[in-house]
Amino acid sequence: MTGLALVPARRLLVERPVVRIALEPGDRVVTTAGAFVVAGDLLAERVRDPRLEEVEERDVRAVPAQPGSWVAAEHGRRGSVAAGEVLFSHGGRRRVATGPHLDLVTAPAAGRVTAVRPGAAIELELDGVGIPGSALLGDPGHGRLVLLPGDGEGRLPLDVAHAGAIVVFSGRADAETLTRARAMGIAGAVVPSLAERDRRDVEASEARQRAGIHRLAAFPVLVVEGYLRRALAGPLRDLLAALAGSPVGLVADPPLLVHGGPATALPRPAPDRVRIRTGPEAGGDGRFLALAGPRRLTAGVATEAARVRLDDGREVVVPLGDLERFA
């Protein structure tokens, strides 16, 4: 055996991904299970600041109303109740979630609605493929994919010409860069990693922007790796380069970049291609050669290791835990 199967595998592509669009109690669903949608189609109306209204059931005509059903505005003998979602009824009183400001929840990509759960989620099976990330900040969105040049300082290449696009920062990005991107009308971002502090700043900025009466469009940020500074993996860079210029969507559950095209048209790495994720050689790509047996690391811990030939020709021994391959 070569031992390649002992290297943790990372999924590079998910075919026909099933994604969930989160709903809150009070949101009005305007699609149905089985419906086919394209990117930008309306799925639901989201109540921005939902409030609870109680109404005597004997004062309204639409009885009985099941939890999760939508009721129209009614004017009863003792007052009126706005349109909203029935949460539950008890003791002759109906609790309805309602609110004055509605936002639109749209489909991030083409696909089919497979399930609708009012107040919980809409489930979609999307056409094409998804590239998994580790987290999505903000609400789902879509746009054409643009790869920013450079090693990722991010400050220089941003341009208003990218308005409406989802931009890929192949190197470093921080909260300031992302806020600036949003202000330029950029529709979303893909970043290799983002520190917790920057994530909080981005989310707080997003919440402030969306709380305004004239709110801006969603600005999703897909974090591909994690929290510590790291460049995009080679095979992932190749994939995103192949998708440049195409329409893509970003979804949160699970965090994915989705594209409507077939998987066969996309470049895939060789099976023995590995990447060194952490450790002294972190960031290196290469070929898995063989297992190297148990090794005692500098901190005194013994672990299984492998021999890897890096792209620069060097052969190194790397703990299996620091490696990843792409499946």
Binding site: M1, G3, A5, L6, V7, P8, A9, R10, R20, A22, E24, P25, G26, P50, R51, L52, Q66, P67, G68, V86, L87, F88, S89, H90, G91, R95, A97, R117, P118, G119, A120, A121, S134, A195, E196, R197, E225, G226, Y227, L228, D253, R277, T278, G279, P280, L291, P294, L297, T298, A299, G300, V301, T303, E304, P319, L320, G321, D322
Partner: protein, 538 residues
Amino acid sequence: MTDAAAPAGAAGPPPAAAFATLDRGTATCAAALVGRVDRRWRLVAAAAVPAGADPAALVELLVERARDLDPDLAAEMGLDARSAAPPRIEATGSPAPHAAVLAATDATRRLLEADAAAAGWRTSGASAQRDDALAMLRRATRPGVAMLLVGTGDPPSAEERDLLGEIVALAAGAAERRPDLPVVLVGAAAGRASDFPLATDVVTVPRPHGDPSADLRAILAARRAGPGDPRQALVVAAATLAGVLDLRVELLEVGMSGALRVRAEPAGAPGEAARVAAREVPSALLGLADEAAVDRVEGWTTLPIDRARLRDRLAELRLAPWAEGGGDGPLLRAAALRASVERLVEATDAELGGPAPDLVVLAGGAWSSIPAPAALLVLADAVRRPGVVQVALDAARLLGPLGTIEDAVERTAVLRDLVPDALVPLGTLAVARGVRGGRQAGHLRVVGGDATVEVELAGGRLALVDLPPGQAGAATLAFRGTADLGARGRRFAAPATGGLAGLVVDLRGDPLHLPDRPDERRGLLGRWEAALWPEHDR
């Protein structure tokens, strides 16, 4: 067992002369190859790899190594090239699932959350007393919620009786939206099962703590854990171990999905089962459980990094818990382990505290991510309990899989054979309380084999005696003043068993006083760490 051929043999095919165990955790997958040698089960080989690796390939690797090392013995165990893969015993863990807890009052919410947490569930709760209906429904329908726990006290208070109808109607509304969500109704709510949609899986527990056959924690634990759950299996294994060794055993397991503490005592009389009590604490998971966890890890770390960077590294540990086995990764894990064990002990001391046991077993992959002697120091740092205990490490992670063997006789027989191989002795830990710091506090004399070691004891410090594995000795501790070593006195005699850390006498005080200034605290912790972890600054 995943194969008909059991270790102890079964009717039909010839009894297996070897089997493999797999402990598939959320961070790493550990495999061990066990073979029958000289009529005894012996550990032949063991290894651990990242959780995403193929477990079958790991077993194959161990078989290959056994063949390479001793082809004749491998053939004798049925592991030659023509043989099929050995049968496997597996324990498979999964991340702690999430339960939404809805209660009429805050007091009941806290009780229900404690019960769910003790059964291994992560919880988020709401009460009609504190939250509005919209917030409660939001909590119940949030993505990731895998169970709804709705209840009142037993018996319900007057306020709960008033609010019961509303809570049940709200929960039924949540069940209408999430037909896949099982609902557990507790106390007076149990009588309202008919209010829920017919398709909902409803479990009623009318008397959660007054009826042993419907004990809430047992029901919740059974709903969380699938067959082969490693934590449930560790409870069984700890009880078996207590019986096999005839010792009071405490088992501490820490992982990425929570932590477990088990206390087991041998049976009082022949024919009786061992007494065992256990509690899971999902919030004591290794790494970034919440902001409080960051505070704790920051308090224990010896790494000179700021809080923001520490938080990022702990968050990264959740994404790839197997990574960074070298460099300063183990130092971070050691700090996170101290924080987790400290939290585990705090959460369980009311139920599982008490005098020191005879043997502490450290189980789970987190303990193996730092050098074995350092694991003993982590235990000493986080569990400040006076007494003398032996400490051992389940290095090959055999206990979990062996705990899944259903037949108690077979499990006992296999474990009895494997104890010497399965438990790596770390040494003996003596923690004394009430010893004044900064002066000559007493004297230690250890007689082991032909050698005698004499050590002057100083308060506020650690004293180390090199006592290798396999060696046993008699330790005599004589203090100048009265000290508490499980019992109060000036002179104590205790058996000392050797291990990778030897005999460690801890006179650092209880509680452990650490400097407030981060650099001074790191320096002090680093000096203690260096004593048992010489490689740590390389």
